[in-house]
């Protein structure tokens, strides 16, 4: 792949004695939409968390836009990156969480405006305009001055997405964003994700159990099993025509409920 926006080379992550990632190799193209699926414990959330710098890999190299994320040069040596280095790269990555993590002490509009103002020091008026647009895009233009605790789960997740989008990341990570929602609220969130995907500009990695959605939206589906990438390919191939036993038994659970 020429000029991938993100690469993983032999990335390992252990928690104490337990090794969760056992050598992840991955290239993500700019604007590529990837669905990351796998059984619980397979490490899929850990993969995106190491990219978002929420976890530090025990070994291996992650690059973002050509730059080494977790290591930096100091003189002639490579050392563990300091916070300044991490911050210089982390801005290119955004994340939406399973449990929303909205700021409860701010209104929806303030939630969206917070980071561009506090982190990027952008001009308040233009941030406000962009935030309002983003909230309207996710269908919450009428809830600008409400507080998160006044919203339903689906609405909260949409605000969380608007908040992440206002920062204009190059890569957006979605950590099982519909798993904590009541079933009837899942659709509205998936709609928004589909819109975001169709706009085209960002790479997206969705850790998800929504197989039909993955089939519809993703350019590539990656099946993670036991800490390694077991299968990777176009959605139709992976979800419908694979002969990998583990993958088939994993998907079997979803077949009956989809």
């Amino acid at each position: 792949m020429t000029n991938p926006i993100v690469t993983f080379r032999d990335v390992h992550k252990s928690y104490g004695d337990v090794e969760v990632l056992k050598g992840i190799d991955l290239d993500i193209a700019p604007a590529e939409k990837i669905a990351l699926i796998g059984p619980s414990g397979s490490g899929k959330t850990t993969v995106i968390r190491t990219l978002m710098t929420l976890e530090e890999p025990t070994a291996g190299i992650i690059t973002v836009d050509g730059q080494n994320l977790w290591q930096m040069e100091k003189g002639s040596k490579m050392v563990r990156a300091n916070e300044k280095h991490l911050r210089s790269i982390r801005g290119k990555i955004g994340m939406v969480f399973q449990h929303f993590n909205l700021f409860p002490h701010m209104t929806n509009l303030e939630n969206c405006m917070a980071a561009p103002i506090h982190v990027k020091k952008e001009d308040k008026a233009s941030v406000r305009k962009r935030s309002i647009e983003m909230l309207e895009k996710v269908g919450l233009g009428d809830k600008l001055d409400n507080y998160p605790n006044q919203l339903s789960g689906g609405q909260k997740q949409r605000v969380a997405m608007a908040r992440a989008l206002v920062m204009r990341p190059k890569v957006m990570l979605f950590d099982e964003v519909t798993s904590a929602l009541d079933p009837e609220l899942v659709g509205e969130v998936l709609e928004v994700i589909r819109d975001i995907a169709n706009e085209g500009e960002m790479a997206m990695v969705l850790v998800t159990h929504e197989m039909d959605f993955a089939l519809d939206v993703a350019d590539r589906v990656i099946f993670l099993d036991n800490g390694v990438i077991a299968e990777s390919g176009k959605p139709a191939e992976i979800l419908q025509h694979s002969d990998n036993e583990r993958l088939q038994s994993f998907l079997h659970r979803f077949r009956s409920t989809s």
């Binding site: 911050r87 982390r90 955004g94 993590n101 700021f103 917070a114 982190v119 507080y147 919203l151 609405q155």
Partner: protein, 250 residues
């Protein structure tokens, strides 16, 4: 003294004794003398409360120093101050500090009082801050990181606005507790309302009325403080958008 048909004085004869012994004349005479000390008593309480609030943060920072031996040392010092009686600390500052090599100076009694009580209670207030900070949902830290917040902004814009408002009632409690510790400073020569009451008593042989006045003055000051704290709590909760339960849409 009667309530309805009940003659209280027959049931509780000591009421008559107190009435006979309580001299309203003494009250009017001693009150202005005692009240002169209200500035010192109130001022000392407020100053030491300010010191306690400030040093509460200082302890948090000192305990987070990456260099283990230093952070361990400061944790131990904090524990030591928390576990020894404030009176002992007052005596140490007033009688002992002048003799400390290099940094030892003689301290004015009021300053001793402010530092002694202030720093003693700062150790408790530090724990109040810590519990407030730990009660902030872990996801908030992750959201701040995902949005690339710097450490400073993360604290001032995300964490502290959530951590501190719930601690206000507890901080208000400590203010009232500190009001009651301030009379200890009489032992190192601070002339507040208690000491003035005792002086009056020593001079005129009447203790009951002056000490009653002192108790009532403390009651008024504490109660006024708790009202102020409660109002602050309401204002801050409004500002940080805590809506009453039940307005959530489902």
């Amino acid at each position: 003294m009667r309530i309805g048909n009940l003659d209280l004085e027959r049931i509780f004869p000591f009421i008559t004794r107190i009435k006979e012994n309580f001299s309203w004349e003494t009250v009017t005479e001693s009150f202005p003398i005692i009240f002169k000390g209200i500035g010192i008593t109130l001022g000392l309480t407020i100053a030491s409360f300010a010191v306690a609030l400030l040093f509460g943060f200082v302890w948090l920072l000192l305990r987070k120093i990456p260099f283990k031996p230093l952070s361990w040392l400061f944790t131990w010092i904090m524990e030591f101050i928390r576990s020894t009686p404030p009176l002992v600390q007052l005596f140490f500052l007033y009688y002992g500090w002048p003799n400390v090599p290099v940094v030892g100076v003689t301290l004015d009694p009021f300053v001793c009082g402010v530092l002694g009580i202030g720093i003693h209670f700062s150790t408790y207030i530090s724990e109040v801050y810590r519990s407030g900070i730990e009660s902030v949902d872990k996801g908030q830290w992750e959201a701040a990181k995902a949005l690339n917040y710097s450490a400073g902004k993360k604290w001032t814009k995300v964490i502290l606005p959530q951590a501190l408002p719930p601690t206000i009632p507890m901080l208000g409690n400590y203010l009232i507790i500190m009001f009651k510790e301030v009379p200890l400073t009489a032992t190192i020569g601070v002339i507040g309302i208690l000491q003035l009451a005792r002086d009056y008593g020593a001079q005129y042989w009447r203790y009951l009325e002056p000490l009653t006045i002192v108790a009532l003055l403390f009651l008024v000051m504490s109660y006024a403080s708790s009202l102020i704290i409660r109002r602050m709590e309401k204002k801050i909760n409004e500002r940080t958008g805590k809506k009453p339960a039940g307005t959530a849409v489902q």
